[in-house]
Symmetry: D2
């Protein structure tokens, strides 16, 4: 490969959080996403539909697929779930080809996604077409975008991902792989990418490996890139290995090639993927998510024991930790809260007048396992705390005599800028309250979090290495490993709202 | 009340199942449903929306509400979930009034519901408007329908419920309540009904009380009728009591009145509501569904013990029994199968070619809790067995060394004709196989069911009373307590397909 | 055929108009409609789609088709135009059969048609299924409906047509044809009907023959019934003859049979079909509509001559009369008003603020043929006069030096109760104004109408026979030939609004 | 203004048509369009909706509007008619502002427009946002596009218009007006443009003035740019003047400024706008379209007289010429062909089997004015001739004894490359047939066209100036006044099909 000055931007040991943090209303897309790519398979699009379906928990608002059929790129993008808009023979029929990439996208509550902001992005470059799908968040996207617009670039979306496409397009290098490297050297942030060209499927993970990406293969010799292993399971593909931080994988007729254009740095995988985001049946970075969660529950039971009659998970994400807690504490595990499976994200409480009722659209207390008991509620995390207040009240009304809350992560004190949507800092309960005032706010008899060391132990580490933490845990510690360039530029929300169009 | 010769039709101790059983393709609507009614509440429709939402598990294909606003009846009916089509201010605004009834409807796979078959039904009678919603199934509906058509009645739907409306319309009696009694005396089957007139909300449960119906009240003096208590919980209403078998409840400005026009017979509540159908957080006939299910699991662990490393529920209905089994057997409870929450009923496997792959749209095995272990799979029932085969294969491929299946109900050997959709008898695995051949078919190392007595014990009975069973358990025993008139009339499917219209 | 006491109801020489006339807001469906039926043709539904398309001018709001395929009745009904919802292979494919009937429906402005009010109606009677489509209006429908409801009938629509179906259903006679006759003897009003049974296509025209109905045949021996001959032209069928007033045509495998169960009375065809409603390329009652309209224009030019520079039609219905006027007067015919072909019925003027501008959504003046000229505007009729005011103002602003308006019918002084939607009497300009005040209101230099005798001469009559008029001309004379029973019953609008449901 | 070397590209006296002409299937958008812009009006969007509605005949497939509200650009784009998707209060409400531009777009039959190809285009440039709407066709768009892609530009559509946007974006000049001039100097073709920036509405007409553009003003001091005067009429605006060929109009708070950066050349307005494209009530280049058409009919009657009984227009575009022909020849004008107003573009003949019937979806012969007569059919032009064949056959079957066809333009022998969609040359009837073989093909007794000089005389010229024709008449003569660069580059259709996406 060609020589490229290889200095990935923006990686630091720790940066201070700027005073101005992005508000929920700034119109900036801060999605968590799932990505999938396949090469060398006669049912490329059908497999991509299934893979995206398995990754649906990483983004439910929109989905898109681009395939290449040897002559043309074919594309379908839609708001809504994969199962609603992609699993038809008509769509699969139209997206012909033996290679494809796909994307599922999450969006913040209340923000309406525009169809033009649905990935994969496609561009017809001088060297041929290229499609890109991205999981993560670039922290200098606005800075780069301003520079590109100044030189005449025209953006069609408001997504940070589009700056990557423009950097590839305007790179002076010849080979697409070199253009990609050229582009990556100019961006900062957390990213896992899949790119599709006429010749190859390319996968990229940022130098710190913040977001996951795995390599798999199918029986017939095809190869797959996906955010999580559950996307391999659904199509019966085998797990090969994690893509390494800073690695570029190129899958083509020549087979699988690996490039590492960046200087090696210690990786910082997002520990919140273990706590909440990844699916429990996935293996990430070598560990079972389910096992890690159960071990967090066991750590919590040891660190913060309590006398009680029932261990009750807050469904569904608190369940594995609750099982671990129950096993370790030898207190019965009970389904004390029943989740209503028919609630979509869009269920609106019907009228102003009855909104004050403690309306229980998503959950109902299971009186039979609560009434007259001392219960431990196990949840994965507390963000704003407003949901916890309602759940505790519901459990109290169902007749619990004592309620103890145990949280399977340290207090969430800082927002994420690397691809997980979190509220701004002043909305984070733990950023502004000490433990006792949180306990009072939530209304429980006791409240306790697992320690950072306990969390690290559950992942298999001896302890958190304070000098050089093994994970990105900025949301618990405020130690951001990658520069927050755009945040520190004091950009206003208005600078990002370019055109109020709706598709 | 007026004197009416009170001989409810068709109740028997036991009838033989006819040779001809209704096939899935006969076009006959055989839904399980949920019903809700409210009277004397200023937010009648908004509460009905919430109540139906809580009953959504009883029917996901269509929903409808009729309200009365003092001058007019207002109605909205829609295919799809309550949360998708009713929770808008526009709909709630339009369905004005202080009284309303609602209905959710289940339909068999592959059968497309016509909008005209969505309840509540409404008719403008000589005595004023009446709306009806029905949970259950009439077993002489076709016979009565033929008689009515002969005398000039015109039917607008293919629903059995419409015969009730016509019988009310043509009754010679004056008062609506007497007309309803008159109508009920002519029908056979299982039914819980709610009716709305200009003056009253009326609730009815059939003489055997096969389907559930509960009475609740709101803080402001309003009254509610609903299929299950979870519909009271969601709106913060209090449970008053179960409506009794054969009881007619009339709620009006005069308050709550009770009528029992039928001679008293011993009740036969549907035991399958405990096993599978009702929500675990509901109380039916005085017992917690969750507790009964856990006790079934414990009975099963005592009756059919097995040495193993993990107790794994088949989600979601097997979970409470699995918890009971794990507690009783002291074997760890593990989430060994992860359910994909984003699968709608409509997800179609994308193409013919990849359909042979063991595609796992709904579930994935959680390898971490299965690999190298002897596992017990706990499920609520086996109907055709085809799903069980796939799940066992998936668990086997995930590395289980032994798989033992334990079923929280006796073998399902007979179809239900009283309101729960089941396949015809020749499709029921247990109707045609002995235990060993079922074990081989499903591919497990051992297979066992709870006994009928074990099931009855879990509900609080000492044992099943063989002479006069405490429940309707025809699906396990073939002892049908109500005549199957239409089945024995040798009607052909064609007789029921009147007009192939789609709305 | 069987003996039936044959006294058609309600036919009079002249009745007085009741004080209470139906308002536009009374919710009562008063559509003008088009009907079509075909028997013995392998492409029955495809031909019906085309036939309804040719009759689209008779009703644009909704359409429906019912076919019979030898075993089942198949139906499709939809709001909107035939071309939008019926001309797909999927619909034609589904509506199999060699016989079919169809209906297009007009609805009053602002009234939203419910899908359940779209024809053909279908009912499954004791003697088999029957579908009905109706053009016209029954004048005692409410009276009959009340009687039927009292005896237990349940209505599914608010259409007058449904009383016919119920009367057929409850008739004590055996043969369907006798049941139909039995039903017709109980109804009053204007009606042309097509009915489809398993064995036959039946066509009926009321004793006075107020609404049109023609018989046609296809090359392959099939037969057709349609409102106008243009529906024969579109499918290349041949015109056989008009169905006669009071005649019942039965088309079956036995061929075409004719019955005349009513005593012969002198016919009273609707003269407004010539003036406005029928398509100019149709022949009705033996005359070309286009020719009659041109002759009306010529009569008008003779009766009401004027010195002018250009004869300008108000498009499109005034065009043939304007051509006749121009020819007779030897003044140039000019397109002085250009119609915008892209205006649907639903174009709403965008905002309150600009509504006061003389917004010209439908028409624009063609300055080049108006400026500096004395023009004659020729229109078919004036109903409320509001449109005329706007058109005159537009023509004036375009530079006309004189504007003379000539109307190709006598003044419209009375509403129609026989199937053409007209406003109530107090909204009819000519009912409340003399000629001079109308001229001032409309703002023209002169205003003149053709005389009743002139109109009759244009149709080929010598003169209007005042004792026994040859046509129904109640809208010009107030002489209603059929009783207005419901109107005289003082029914309130509320009595007709049964259920505020929207499909 | 700044100095810019002003040499508009590509204007020639005459160029030869290349051998390769664009096929219908090449995926290249060759729409005829309508444009509208307004500045300084408080109801900018509402007026734009009305203006586009008046221009709907110039493009029915899609429409779009961009407004500027002082802070943001707001946009709405939709497939379908303006009246269907824009005239709602919600849309008008959302597109706030006192300035707006809009576009209606025509697309070739069978080609499905992508939403991303709907104008106006919007781009956020370094100097601020700019929206562009275009009527015409660039003849070197592909050449420029290739150059831009080579330097890293990313295109979001397949429209030629987008090259203008990119040229503006990458211009080294500072002021937007100078950037626009810079861009225009690099493009060839026919174009009328409206551009909207934060400060101004800009209108441009190409140096030859091939496509129309007029300037108007409203009572309250606002200004309007529109393709035709009928768009001024609909909102009651006054016509000011035609924008001149090569003129740039800038409307801002400073008022109306005019720039002429190009060297003056003799104009070549499209003569086909008079023949067919413009609305008859519009004035273009100073003349009434209706008057020109009537004069063409009169010229034709003088040049090609015929003995006959009726002059019949082929609706609707042949009507004015037929009136002129009838007046000049003193033969009666008759509506011999009735157009069905309810045919949308999408009406598909229902099934294969009946497609061979001469199905008359759009027109029907009016027998009454044809039977037994010698008729003259007057049409505006013959392109492929296939429609003429069907119409002649229909008129023959209706009983005409002789049929003479008279065409109100010279034979169409060459395709248009300047913005009017025409088939490629080998599909043009007159390109491959002499008059006699055309007469036989169409099946008439005589066939004649107006002469080129006759056509020019009807527009007010003395004669066609063969050395320097006063109009672009390439479709009749093959003398193309602007270079056909892309056509001569031998680009393949495949080069233009970039991505088969459907929105």
């Amino acid at each position: 490969m060609s020589k490229i000055p290889a200095t990935p931007q923006g990686i630091t040991n720790s940066v201070k959080i700027p005073d101005f943090v992005r508000s929920e209303e700034d119109g900036r897309p801060r999605e968590e996403c799932g990505i999938f790519g396949i090469f060398g398979n006669s049912e490329a699009t059908a497999h991509t539909v299934l893979g995206l379906h398995a990754l649906q928990h990483r983004g439910q608002e929109a989905a898109g697929i681009v395939s290449f059929d040897g002559a043309r790129f074919n594309s379908h993008r839609s708001l809504g779930h994969v199962g609603d808009h992609f699993n038809t023979e008509r769509v699969v029929e139209r997206l012909k080809g033996t290679a494809a990439i796909g994307h599922v996208r999450y969006s913040t509550a209340g923000e309406k996604t525009l169809l033009r902001n649905v990935q994969p992005l496609f561009a017809d470059l001088n060297v041929g077409g290229v499609a890109v799908a991205h999981n993560g968040n670039l922290t200098n996207a606005l800075q780069v975008r301003k520079r590109l617009v100044k030189s005449g670039a025209i953006f069609q979306s408001t997504m940070d991902t589009e700056v990557i496409v423009h950097l590839i397009a305007t790179s002076p290098r010849a080979a697409l792989r070199d253009r990609v490297i050229d582009a990556l050297l100019q961006i900062e942030g957390a990213y896992s990418l899949v790119l599709l060209t006429k010749k190859a499927l390319i996968g990229v993970r940022d130098p710190l490996g913040v977001r996951p990406l795995v390599l798999g293969k199918t029986d017939d010799g095809g190869h797959i890139l996906a955010s999580e292993t559950c996307a391999l399971d659904i199509i019966g593909a085998d797990f090969v290995r994690d893509v390494e931080p800073g690695e570029i994988i190129r899958i083509s007729e020549k087979g699988v090639e690996s490039f590492k254009p960046f200087p090696a740095v210690k990786s910082r995988f997002c520990i919140f993927e273990y706590v909440y985001f990844a699916r429990p049946d996935s293996f990430v970075e070598g560990s079972s998510v389910y096992d890690v969660r159960k071990r967090i529950g066991a750590e919590l039971a040891r660190e913060q024991p309590v006398e009680a009659d029932a261990i009750i998970p807050v469904p569904d994400s608190g369940t594995p930790a609750a099982i671990g807690f129950a096993e370790e504490s030898n207190i019965p595990f009970e389904l004390g809260i029943i989740r209503n499976h028919y609630v979509g994200r869009t269920f609106i409480e019907p009228t102003e007048n009855i909104r004050h009722l403690g309306v229980k659209l998503k959950h109902n207390a299971n009186r039979a396992s609560i009434r007259g008991k001392r219960v431990v509620l196990v949840d994965d995390s507390i963000v704003r705390g407003t949901t916890s207040v309602k759940i505790v009240q519901m459990v109290r009304e169902a007749g619990a005599t004592e309620i103890h809350m145990r949280i399977a992560s340290p207090p969430t004190t800082h927002p994420c800028f690397y691809g997980i949507d979190t509220p701004r800092r002043d909305k984070l309960l733990a950023a502004n309250h000490d433990l006792e005032s949180m306990r009072q706010f939530i209304g429980v008899d006791s409240l306790a979090y697992v320690s950072a060391n306990g969390l690290y132990r559950a992942t298999g580490e001896a302890n958190r290495n304070a000098q050089r933490p093994q994970y990105c845990d900025a949301c618990f510690t405020g130690e951001y490993p990658i520069s927050l360039t755009d945040e520190n530029d004091n950009n206003t929300p208005a600078q990002l709202s370019l055109l109020a169009e709706r598709a």
